[in-house]
Amino acid sequence: MYDIKALYEAESVEDAIRLLQEHPQAQIIAGGSDVLVQIREGKRAGVELVSIYGIDALRGVCYDEEGAIRIGSLTSFSHIAADPIIREQIPVLGEAVSLVGGPQIRNIGTIGGNTCNGVTSADSASTLFAWDAIVELTGPEGIRHLPIREFYIKAGVVDLKPAEVQTAILIPKSSYEGYFGNYIKYAMREAMDIANLGCSVNVALSEDRKVIRDARIAYGVAGPVPMRTPSAEALAKGQELSEETIGKVARAVLQDIHPRDSWRAAKAFREHIAVEIAKRALRQSILLGGGVIRE
């Protein structure tokens, strides 16, 4: 039995905005795999809920008119993993969300919930950071678009204004065309776990596939919110494909990240793993792009 004061079910985005305006204290609920857990823990005891789960218009993956990949915010992880557009253009996102929890969670959990929850460990978030995703927010004032890096304000807090609903996540064509990616989730077991560290890398190679044209390296759990590693990325640009480059770039991530020292994992351990998984994700991304790495 959950301590819920009221549940309002929205039939459309407009309806959801109206309900949120009528009940300004209400919490949005989609799949509920985070919100219900929080209620059970007593964190939101006596909460009012506006459910957007019934709004089918927010489900599915398509291209928009500019060729960006548009992922409806209610699209479940298992849907994303199986979606043909995702598999063709950004398979790494499907791989990343396939590592969330277990099968039941992946069927109920949504990418919108995963990002609006504002946690650094979300398996979709670091990959969306790497792809320079754009968040679409719909509110009483209309629609606005935000780079995902600006959407995250601090741990557990995202830039969602009163009565605003996240309606889609967009991956611009310029972000994915020519890029190949890999995500490594580092956790203590192979399923049903939250990352101690996650690293998502994508790489674009030069036309002759000899040098790194661009590299984007993103982390989860390396700070209070997901983050990118500007120093390491700058270092990678224009470098030849070699183990030396990979090692140098991977070590440079330590200039950018600042993981916590906690009972879940020591800082020294996380830093060691951060470098190791950056190496492996870089190596894999280069190989996916058809590059040959010199020893």
Binding site: M1, Y2, D3, G42, A45, G102, Y186, M188, R189, E190, A191, M192, D193, I194, A250, R251, L254, W263, R264, A265, A266, A268, F269, E271, H272, I273, V275, E276, I277
Partner: protein
């Protein structure tokens, strides 16, 4: 013969269709909901509890605090048979609610409400003032002079210290040329994590109290509820439905007394106490963390000259099963690798942690972690071979233990090792994986174990059985040994069908134990269900058969010695002719106008024997050194558990135990905050129980040497599969990397420390 066949579980269809009723399914929805308020300090005293705000919550029926407990009936909680000799009784140190708080999570008050939400809201509003004392979490620090004291009667927090002295250790170590091998080996606090959390409900009828409980030990719970409430034991009735697992946690009295009391305080109303997972971790029982110090003096020829073990067992805050666990592991030490000169000191020590109790293996998984890790260190020090060393030094065929009189009748250890090695292709892999380099390396390692079956001669136990014949020739079978998911009911039905001579479907096992109805027995613990119930089923089945044939004589005029029951029919032995069906006989017996009988049988068997059980694990791993990760590639257990009653169920038992061993070796550990004593990871996300994806295919092999002391040739299998898995994994990691992880689990944190120390990974910063 059904014994030896993999017949379907008698409860299979109900369980897979969801029809089986567990405690919560049985509880009427009108029940009041009870929740317990737990202390938020690790050591101290409750000064005041303010319930005024909580009482205003609509739906709250009653709030009871430790100060309402006017009569203090201290009671023991261990699920042991009662001893009529006060000096052998379990320590009675628990109260239903306590003012004196000894661990973070101790029970100080309870709320009874009309629903869960009201109960949770009320819990939240109760205010508690404490006087805080310093606390101690480390087992050896707790023994130091000046350490915070938990119980007045136990100076230096030592609940018990026992010793074993064989030969002359001090003299033996003077032998020239000995090699000394010394190490510290520690196991963490882990929890059972049965699927069904502990739950019970209670209500009164007349002046009696009924508690329906998810317990392994209904008859013991009845006694302790009587003791805790200070009422006559006959006024207490305990009912045990199907269980979603227990693994020893439910071999303890948990919240049954409190739930009964709360019902009594609310006019005998139905009260349900359903413990959430977070509280199950902290406020029920855990496995004892044991720190072991072993010194071995070995001759260059690879034999032991002298050995020494010190074991420090962390009891947590209350006695529960107490020293029995550490003592069992200590007792295994001189037996597994017999040596003439041995010193053992075993200590069980109170600390301000959750209470440790019984858990599958009862001290042996901890002891095997230490002993078998150490064996590998000895092998390394000698430059010996792990297999050859074990073959040379393990308990030999014909070994008899002086205390239990248990005997190793066959060459079980070598037989088990041979079978396990063949299953996993050990010898090839052992050679192939020697001296690897590189980031990712493979290894293969082994460990053995020793186990008892029942409790004799520590106590004399009895098993009782009742059989009641029906009109159709079927019969109900009742025993006090409980089905807790392990498949006991099915094994009982198989044995009973064979003894009486009926088809399996003619045996109706009454799965539920009800202390008002079920014959007396102490329930599911040790690994004794099939062994002890086997005696009473055999004895009672023969009694029933005798009564049936006696009546058959009345009906057929054939002499009893020429009659038998086969496949549910009365058969004449001389020519094999079927004279009548058992159903015809039973109907006659009940409705006869000249000689009407209700054919039943009931008897009690005293078990004055015990049996050794043996086995081993071989594990193959791949270690990714920079990632500090171990992948278990293959694992095999081989057991000599005597004759198997149901091989498929036996295999399932072994799989379950191996899974528990995998978590124990690689990932599980309950962590406490050093600053507050608060448990940090008491949930199934942060406590890393291993998942399906962390398991390879589990291989179970058996050697079936019939056990001569047993009614059906069986001996223990319930707990043994969990005993040797973790050290085998540890030894496989050692084989792969040359790094021995002595503190379980060999998780990424421990591997990072160990590999850094060994220079296998370098600081990249």
């Amino acid at each position: 013969m059904y014994a030896g066949q993999s017949v379907k579980r008698v409860d299979a269809f109900d369980k897979v269709t969801g029809r089986t009723k567990y405690t919560d399914d049985l509880c009427d929805r009108k029940a009041y909901i009870a929740r317990v308020l737990h202390s938020t300090i690790a050591n101290g005293k409750v000064l005041r509890i303010d319930t005024s705000e909580a009482e205003k919550v609509p739906g709250v029926v009653k709030i009871v605090t430790c100060f309402d407990l006017k009569e203090k009936h201290y009671y023991p909680t261990a699920g042991h048979p009662w001893s009529t000799d006060p000096s052998h009784q379990d320590v009675a140190d628990r109260l239903m609610l306590t003012e004196r708080v000894r661990f973070y999570g101790d029970d100080i008050a309870a709320v009874v409400a009309e629903d869960e939400v009201a109960a949770a809201q009320a819990l939240h509003l109760i205010r508690v003032d404490y006087e805080e004392y310093p606390f101690v979490l480390d087992v050896q620090k707790a023994m130091e002079d000046g350490a915070p004291q938990l119980h007045e009667a136990y100076p230096n927090n030592i609940l018990k210290h026992t010793q074993i002295r064989l030969g002359d250790y001090e003299k033996a170590i003077q032998e020239p040329g000995l090699i000394k091998v010394e190490g510290w080996y520690e196991t963490p606090v882990v929890q059972h994590c049965h699927i069904e959390n502990f739950i019970c409900y209670a209500e009164m009828e007349g002046n009696r109290i009924t508690v329906v409980s998810s317990t392994q030990i209904p008859h013991i719970v009845r006694r302790v509820v009587g003791q805790a409430l200070g009422i006559e034991w006959g006024r207490v009735r305990i009912v045990k439905p199907y269980l979603g697992g227990g693994f020893g946690n439910k071999q303890d009295i948990l919240y049954e007394p409190l739930c009964a009391w709360l019902s009594m305080l609310t006019g005998g109303h139905l009260v349900k106490l359903d413990v959430p997972r977070e509280e199950t971790f902290v406020c029920t029982r855990t496995r004892h963390s044991i720190r072991n110090h072993i010194i071995s003096w070995v001759r260059p020829d690879g034999t032991y000259a002298a050995r020494k073990l010190e074991a420090f067992s962390d009891q947590g805050a209350y006695a529960s099963h107490g020293h029995s666990i550490c003592a069992k592991g200590a007792g295994a030490f001189p037996q597994l690798y017999p040596c003439k000169n041995v010193e053992v000191d075993a200590y069980t020590v109170f600390t301000n942690k959750s209470v440790a109790g019984a858990m599958r293996g009862y001290g042996i998984p901890q002891a095997m972690w230490a002993v078998e890790s150490h064996t590998e260190d000895v092998v390394a020090a000698l430059g010996d071979d792990p297999l050859a060393f074990r073959r040379r030094n393990l308990m030999p065929k014909g070994y008899v233990d002086g205390f239990s009189k248990n005997e190793l009748y066959e060459d079980s250890f070598n037989q088990c090792l041979d079978k396990a090695m063949a299953a996993i292709d050990y010898e090839r892999k052992y050679k192939e994986y020697q001296n690897q380099t590189g980031d990712v390396r493979r290894g293969i390692g082994m460990a053995v174990f020793w186990y008892n079956t029942a409790v004799w001669p520590i106590s004399l136990e009895s098993s009782s059985c009742r059989m009641v014949l029906n009109q159709d020739g079927s019969f109900q079978l009742q025993v006090a040994e409980t089905e807790i998911g392990q498949g006991a009911d099915t094994a009982f039905a198989q044995m009973a069908a064979d003894v009486v001579g009926v088809p399996l479907e003619k045996v109706h096992v009454v799965s539920c134990q009800d202390t008002d109805i079920t014959p007396f027995g102490t329930g599911a613990y040790a690994s004794r269900q099939t062994y002890v119930a086997g005696f009473s089923i055999r004895q009672t089945g023969l009694l029933l058969k005798e009564r049936i044939l006696d009546y058959a004589h009345e009906l057929t005029r054939m002499p009893v010695f020429n009659l038998d029951i086969k496949n549910g029919n009365i058969v004449r032995i001389t020519d094999g002719r079927v004279l009548m069906s058992l159903g015809e006989l039973a109907t006659q017996a009940l409705y006869s106008l000249s000689d009407s009988r209700h054919i039943t049988a009931e008897s009690t068997y005293q078990i004055k024997s015990n049996a050794y059980s043996f086995g081993c694990t071989i594990a193959e791993v791949e270690v990714d050194i920079p990632m500090c990760k171990t992948k278990l590639l293959n694992v095999v257990n081989c057991h000599d558990a005597g004759k198997l009653i149901n091989p498929a169920l036996a295999e399932a038992q072994v799989h379950g135990g191996m899974s528990m061993g995998i978590g124990f070796g690689l990932s599980e550990k309950l962590i406490y905050d050093e600053k507050t004593g608060r448990p940090l990871n008491n949930n199934l996300l942060d406590y890393k129980l291993s998942t399906f994806l962390d398991h390879p295919r589990l291989m179970a092999e058996f050697v079936q040497n019939p056990e001569p002391t047993s009614a059906f040739g069986t001996k223990s299998l319930g707990e043994p599969p969990a005993c040797s898995v973790a050290p085998a994994i540890r030894n496989a990691i050692y084989h792969a990397t040359g790094v021995g992880v002595n503190n379980a689990p060999a998780d990424a944190h421990n591997l990072f420390r160990a590999f850094t120390q060994a220079g296998l990974i370098h600081d990249e910063r």
